[in-house]
Symmetry: C2
DNA sequence: CTGAAAGCGCTTACAG
DNA sequence: CTGAAAGCGCTTACAG
């Protein structure tokens, strides 16, 4: 047994020599190309295992058309969905032999376009995944388009020509949450809007309106408050909503952070939740389950969206697979209602029978 | 003005030709090497700007000794500190022209060593950053050692030979929090321990004990409860602690998630926080500021730790800079007490004067 | 201060 | 089914 003199990792040449084949054959086996004799393949694989050979990404990337790198761009690292997206993306990447490169970008950085350009020019990733609000940022999109990098936008405000997208039905989910509150017997349901410049705000409001309208419930303008997705804006909205002569029986906030602000305010005012006030949020953020009572909310399928996004990008780089059809480029994934302790029937009256609600559907 | 026929990005050869120099000179300029005539440098830089030339990472990596990639390994993506570490690392990487590759690993995956080996063998990153508990995982450390990858461990349980580390003073911070409660007038201070297999648990407990001892306060064993860093374990601990005949006036939990569990329990029992019970946590997690009252806690300098870690790894890969001294390999960074609304003087008695506490120091 | 040559470790395009 | 040659775009080691 010869001593392994060289300290450096084995190369494709080492494997080829030991297996008695050409490097091209080793390459074929490593890339799982068809048309290699089963016996040859087995022999190569055996040597690969013995030598613990791993193809070097930089060499593959330089010689070939793929970098095996996928980029993830995000803005606010504490945003509830970024963690889920990253988790889904990194796991799917590993399964496929890809790697995830992340970059935190400021949405209003003056040199944003250059920052993105630097990344893609240096790395030449096989694709990029963009989360809100970067997926709607003109600078970012411009840099990416010019570099011809395949992109998947996660929940963009609007679809962009030539770029794929994955999203959920924000309006539908908001409608379901509102329906839930209505079915519990609520009629005076306040709504806290999200930031006007964020894509998810409008459809969530629309969903709320739709549910109210479907059930012939009036929307009191005094019960609709403008927020900006922060905890502080939830506190402020609650300050207005809960100090009214006639308090709403339920508050539906466009996201969990604001719902937590309402919860904090309610507790400060000595209101019992959900006894005196039901509260619902949106996101199923980490904190939503770390408060009392735990928050009723909507779980966005961020993990699944990210997996689908990675999948799309891998397909986009494979010549042996048919490209995505136009409709396949835009996917809508299922969300999930998470009903927890912060919602119940209103205090004064008993809930209307579920059948009464159903009849109106 | 000639039409740019080729669609592919410019290479070092294009720049050299247009600038009228050799590719070696362009290389020198791009790498900021000394010994290039100022005029030549300016000319090259001008062409670089005109052509928007960006060196390709895979070519640099294949030819040279550096990959300009740094890896970040983490286990629980929802852990309070992972976000901060990633944020600090990605920003410092960008400043230095590096890129951050992240991978989420299961701490007890049977093929963990292989997973890590795959990553480093493919990417050959210039360094790796490990967060708890992966920085104490034998499988992970073995794969990294065998691949000769420079590593920085973030807050490891124990230092590892040949690997750098960055940490904070867990015991000191826990002592400070306990001192804070004591200075507010508390004497019966309960403590909830962290998971026994996590490195931070022991020093935080030691810090608590040290502060109690310094102030000649007895530690009632019945007021020390074993937790596991989860919200649920905080709820459970509170169930025991708060149902006692003589309730503690304050609870110090080893992390925020458990402190939030205590807060939730207290509110469910109708206790006022901090009026009836003071609560302190550890981490300054996102949720700590999203509850009422907001949690008094300790901010771990995760962002700064990550920046220092990246710095160390970049230095480790530069031949023109002296390597780190043995003591420079292990850094301890400053933490910060975050005093918020969840702590106050105990209900029955007025706080002991601050001078009384000071005298005992 | 500058450059010509070799080579990093793969894939591509082509030949058989 | 298999392989020899060229080349990807840089850096290294060396020469002047």
């Amino acid at each position: 047994m010869a001593l392994n003199i060289k300290a450096s990792p084995p190369t494709i040449t080492d494997v080829a020599a030991k297996a008695g084949v050409s490097i091209k054959t080793v390459s074929r086996v490593m890339n799982q190309e068809a048309g290699v004799h089963a016996q040859t393949r087995a022999q190569v694989l055996k040597v690969v295992a013995e030598l613990k050979y791993r193809p070097k990404q930089s060499a593959r990337s330089l010689a070939g058309a793929r970098s095996f790198l996928i980029g993830l761009l995000y803005y606010d690292p504490s945003a509830a969905f970024v963690g889920g997206v990253q988790q889904g993306a990194t796991l799917r990447c590993r399964e496929a032999g890809y790697h995830l490169v992340v970059e935190s970008l400021h949405n209003d950085a003056p040199d944003l376009q250059q920052q993105v350009d630097r990344m893609v020019s240096a790395l030449r990733p096989d694709g990029m995944i963009l989360t809100p609000p970067l997926c709607d940022n003109a600078q970012v999109l411009k840099a990416l388009r010019e570099s011809h990098t395949p992109c998947v936008l996660i929940s963009p405000a609007r679809d962009v020509k030539g770029m794929a997208s994955v999203r959920m039905d924000d309006a539908g989910a908001a409608e379901e949450i509102t329906n839930l509150l209505i079915s519990l017997g609520h009629e005076r349901i306040a709504f806290i809007k999200g930031a006007t410049d964020q894509a998810a705000s409008a459809p969530r409001y629309q969903g709320y309106l739709r549910a109210m309208k479907t059930h012939h419930l009036a929307v009191d303008p005094a019960l609709v408050h403008q927020g900006d997705f922060t905890f502080a804006s939830g506190v402020e909205a609650a300050h207005h909503l809960l100090s009214r002569r006639t308090r709403p029986g339920a508050v539906f906030a466009s996201n969990d952070d604001m719902a937590l602000g309402v919860l904090a305010s309610a507790q400060r005012l000595g209101l019992s939740v959900p006894g005196d006030l039901s509260i619902a949020g949106f996101d199923d953020s980490n904190a939503a389950g770390l408060v009392w009572p735990p928050l009723t909310t909507v779980r966005q399928p961020m993990y699944e969206m990210a997996r689908v996004a990675v999948e799309m990008l891998i397909v986009a780089n494979r010549s042996d697979v048919p490209p995505l059809t136009p409709q396949g480029l835009h996917r809508v994934l299922e969300h999930e209602l998470v009903v927890r302790g912060s919602t119940s029937a209103p205090p004064a009256k008993s809930p209307r029978p579920a059948s009464a609600v159903k009849r109106r559907h």
